[in-house]
Symmetry: C2
Subunit: 140 residues, 2 copies
DNA sequence: CTGTATCCTCTCAGATACTG
DNA sequence: CAGTATCTGAGAGGATACAG
């Protein structure tokens, strides 16, 4: 697979942004690092899967999500949905019928995040084989 | 904080990409989902921190990394570096001096990934306060 | 200096049963 | 249907000591 070259201009730009990110960090006294908070929140497998699925299926109910997001347990799905709702990514709508019906969909903010997530997923898809290849050769 | 609006065009585009991603998925028989593999590999806290640091400091030795990537243990740092090397993100160079010197730096592929990571981190930085705000209000 | 080996803790998540 | 409650196990990761 061909790896697209990162141009000099891109690298300079990256360096500038990194400097902005790292600039204020004091390694000797760092109760919590902003970058770290941010990465922790991005890096939850189930949350990202939930958001991607709600991107593809605009509205889903609890048990529909449970089927789509294969392998997730009641507990974790419930926890993550509450968290995603609390953070503003997901809207939860209750229809007080019998039996009760609850629908989930992305908010505008959720869609904004979805864009980033798709970009990342695309990148990963495109380079998956390259990584797998490397990994195989490295073992030898 | 102002959330930038996701345009209709962007949403349509996202839907198209999601369709491509989700299109081939059979929920009834899915030993492993490609999206999932991909997300798992993206979503390791220590790996992302290592890559971001190697983006900012072009070359780092083992113990330097250990100081910068605050809180990481020998074991985990060593594991992740081996993995990142094996996958092709990081180059490891040994100088057989006494005492031995080992240097780590990003490969071109690593820089390509770094670009994506920075974009994501920037997004997260920009929306951090919005999320924290939501979270506070949700508790009430 | 750059790791590896070992042990040990402790969280997270899966399974199951149950409730409004 | 949409979750909550409880229990349990696996496994990730921290601390420490040690090796090349």
């Amino acid at each position: 697979m061909q790896i697209e070259t990162v141009t000099e201009k891109q690298r300079v730009n990256a360096a500038r942004k990194l400097k902005k990110m790292f600039g204020g960090i004091d390694y000797t006294n760092m109760p919590h690092c902003p970058i770290r908070d941010v990465m922790a929140f991005v890096s939850d497998k189930w949350s990202t899967l939930i958001i991607l699925h709600l991107g593809y299926f605009p509205v889903l109910r609890f048990n529909e999500l449970k089927k789509k997001v294969f392998g997730v347990s009641n507990k974790v799905l419930s926890e993550r949905l509450k968290q995603l709702e609390g953070d503003g990514y997901v809207q939860r709508t209750v229809y007080p019928e019998v039996p009760i019906r609850v629908e989930y969909n992305l908010t505008d903010f959720g869609h904004s995040y979805l864009q980033k997530l798709i970009e990342l997923t695309e990148w990963a898809e495109n380079h998956k084989n390259y990584v797998i290849n490397n990994r195989e050769n490295f073992k030898k």
